[in-house]
């Protein structure tokens, strides 16, 4: 039994407000959990009145927990907006930010650096390259894929063909990465595998200074593409008949996705599931298809989901930490299943 979800204009404001207010709450919660217990009062003190706080608390909060929480917000927002754009342009509800192979490209960059260069320079590759090196390698890999996709997009008219090519390229790259893994030694392998599990905590403040503007740029480009994205809902033929410059619109969307997914993957490793699930949650909550509304809602929901995932990954009460990738999937899947059963169908998009 399908139910028609009616669009109620007023209720959106309530949703915005609720989500917006939840963000600082979750942010604070994320600062609160951690292996070293710091009461909330001291957390707030170290932020607003640092002169009166103990230095190690300031260090923990400012150098570790705050960057991590901000990274969580950025990662959640960026991947959600990237996923939303991919789902719209390919008219595919299963599309995510890595559908074009951007994450695989980043993986290849990192794999080449860690796994092969490692054998040349020895086990110290991590300290030589540092996380800047890894980020750079990931970015170059993602950028190379973007270039390839834009070249393909210029020559091929049919968006479905581009989708299939993207998936094939992605698979091919993963195969190459597997080969590199196969020929590397244990410690290299472990470093690489740990990278693939994703980590929000390894982003330093100076890296944040690069990540934050990148994500903002990607989101701004996406925001300016709202009108094109709405038209793409009807498919490329109708969009073309309404006067859209398809090549330009596609390029902007691919560029935004690459900046968003590429930056996050570069600094945090590949983080899955968020980009696919959050746009659907946004659609189900707002009942609208217009991207002018879906983009901000996806940003808010993405941030919340990521903060929540990070909180859970800290396994409050224990010393251990779960890899973020595992948490986003384990958290996200039941949520989406619950939403499907509530609404009886996830919709075509």
């Amino acid at each position: 039994m399908e139910e028609e979800i009616k669009y109620k204009p007023g209720s959106n404001v309530k949703i915005y407000l609720l989500l917006f207010l939840l963000v600082p709450v979750f942010f604070l919660l994320d600062l609160f959990v951690g292996s070293y217990y710091i009461p909330i009062s001291k957390i707030l003190q170290s932020i607003f009145n640092p002169a009166t706080s103990e230095p190690q608390i300031i260090t923990i909060i400012r150098e570790f927990r705050i960057p991590k929480a901000i990274t969580a917000i950025l990662a959640g927002s960026a991947l959600s907006v990237a996923g939303l754009q991919m789902q719209t342009i390919f008219r595919n509800p299963l599309a995510g930010p890595d559908i074009l192979g951007i994450s695989s490209g980043a993986s290849l960059g990192v794999a080449l650096l860690v796994l092969s260069a490692g054998t040349l320079f020895g086990a110290g590759i991590n300290s030589i390259a540092g996380s800047w090196g890894i980020a750079g390698a990931a970015w170059i890999g993602a950028g190379a894929i973007l270039l390839l996709i834009i070249l393909i997009s210029a020559r091929i008219r049919d968006i479905m063909t581009i989708l299939i090519l993207g998936i094939l390229i992605s698979s091919g790259i993963i195969a190459i990465v597997n080969i590199l893994q196969y020929f590397s030694n244990e410690s290299m392998l472990k470093s690489f595998v740990i990278w693939t599990m994703g980590s929000l905590g390894s982003v330093t403040n100076s890296q944040l200074a690069v990540l934050l503007p990148s994500v903002l740029t990607g989101i701004i480009i996406a925001w300016f593409s709202s009108k094109s994205l709405d038209a793409f809902l009807l498919g490329e033929n109708y969009a073309r008949s309404m006067g859209m410059n398809i090549r330009f619109a596609r390029s902007m969307i691919f560029l935004s996705t690459c900046i968003l997914a590429g930056s996050i993957t570069a600094f945090c490793g590949p983080i899955g599931f968020i980009g696919i699930a959050v746009p659907h949650i946004a659609r189900m909550l707002t009942g609208t298809a217009r991207h002018g509304k879906l983009i901000p809602v996806s940003i808010l929901i993405g941030a919340l989901v990521m903060l929540l995932s990070d909180i859970i990954s800290q396994l409050p009460g224990s010393e251990k930490i779960l890899p973020i990738n595992a948490v986003t999937s384990l958290l996200g899947i039941p949520v989406v299943i619950w939403l499907i059963f509530r609404n009886k169908k996830i919709g075509y998009l």
Binding site: E4, I5, L234, G347, Y348
Partner: protein, 341 residues
């Protein structure tokens, strides 16, 4: 004179699927067709003859091999996308599957060529959208989800979108396919009004011959080897319709204006009566394989059957019998049973 203006003009056009570096596939060569301002034109042709290809070529979705397309006197390739979007709009056969899209939102997308970068609707945009909704009879449906309305209503929504796009030319690919008769007539009626009241040039492809013949100013007849254009009546009278299909058991009845399946005719029968009962009696008898003679001399063969229809009774006279029937069904069953013997 403005009315002589050729709004759409295909000039020695060859359409198909050009492929770089090879010859590609030509579907139809040397097409010369025109549509004038304010005309309702139906494109008729068998499956696979190139109707969709021609429509998609005219709107610029597909490249063509040779020849030219002129829209309002200017070559198609000389138009920029945005300008063309304000002159020509299109309804394709694709079904739209988008969740959360309301009827209003879908129709409002038609304002794309007129809105700024943010897509915000101005007062004028809103009034055009409302007007479009009114024109297709979808008032009250604005907040309905596009996936939860009937096929007919969805088709009207797609047409309303082209109305919101406010173009002089509207091309539609089989807009009446899959619709019931009532919806078919309604859609064509809307198109008719758009041509006559708004002066739009409407070109649509269809398999519904009777509707096209009844409502359209012009038919583009896509035959196997050539294309012809003319008013429906001209094309019927000059026999063009007969060459539409190559099916040997099909023939075009010039009197009635539709296709019939050739049936082996057997016995001749004289039928008397008048009005609708006579027409339908003749139709029923033809269906079961009789050859009808309506104007009979009394000097004809006495072994002929004679049927007199005087609704609600039918009288069957032959050399052997006289029977009365209370329904055409009973009459036909009797005749079929006696044929079996």
């Amino acid at each position: 004179m403005a009315n002589d203006e050729k709004v759409i003009s295909a000039d020695h056009l060859s359409i198909g699927y050009p492929i770089k570096g090879s010859t590609g596939k030509i579907i139809k060569k040397d097409i010369c067709l025109n549509a004038m301002k304010g005309e309702l034109v139906a494109m008729i042709g068998g499956n696979g003859v190139g109707k969709s290809t021609l429509l998609r070529t005219l709107i610029g979705f597909q490249p063509f091999f040779s020849g030219n397309i002129f829209i309002k006197g200017l070559a198609l390739n000389n138009y920029r996308e945005k300008e063309l979007a304000k002159i020509m709009s299109f309804v394709s056969t694709e079904t739209i599957h988008v969740s959360n899209l309301t009827v209003y939102d879908l129709i409002a997308l038609g304002r794309y060529p007129y809105t700024d970068w943010s897509g915000r609707l101005t007062e004028e945009d809103r009034s055009k959208v409302d007007e479009a909704i009114q024109m297709v009879g979808l008032k009250g449906y604005e907040d309905r989800n596009v996936n939860f309305i009937s096929d007919g209503e969805r088709q009207k929504t797609m047409i309303a979108r082209t109305l919101a796009q406010d173009t002089d030319i509207i091309l539609l690919d089989e807009p009446t396919a899959f619709l019931d008769l009532s919806n078919k007539c309604e859609i064509v009626h809307i198109l008719h009004r758009l041509a006559y009241e708004r002066g739009k040039t409407i070109l649509f492809s269809t398999h519904d011959l009777s509707i096209a013949i009844a409502e359209c100013d012009k038919i583009w007849l896509m035959l196997e080897q050539q294309v012809k254009e003319g008013s429906p009546e001209d094309l019927i009278l000059d026999g063009s319709f007969s060459s539409l299909f190559h099916n040997k058991s099909l023939y075009f009845d010039t009197e009635k204006g539709d296709f019939r399946i050739l049936k082996e005719t057997g016995q001749k029968v004289i039928v008397k009566g008048d009005g609708a009962p006579l027409n339908w009696t003749i139709k029923a008898l033809e269906r079961i394989g009789f050859e009808i003679i309506t104007n009979a001399d009394s000097k004809t063969d006495h072994t002929l059957l004679e049927i007199e229809s005087s609704y609600p009774s039918w009288f069957l006279k032959s050399s052997e019998t006289r029977e009365k029937f209370n329904s055409l069904y009973a009459l036909c069953r009797y005749l079929m049973d006696s044929k079996m013997e």
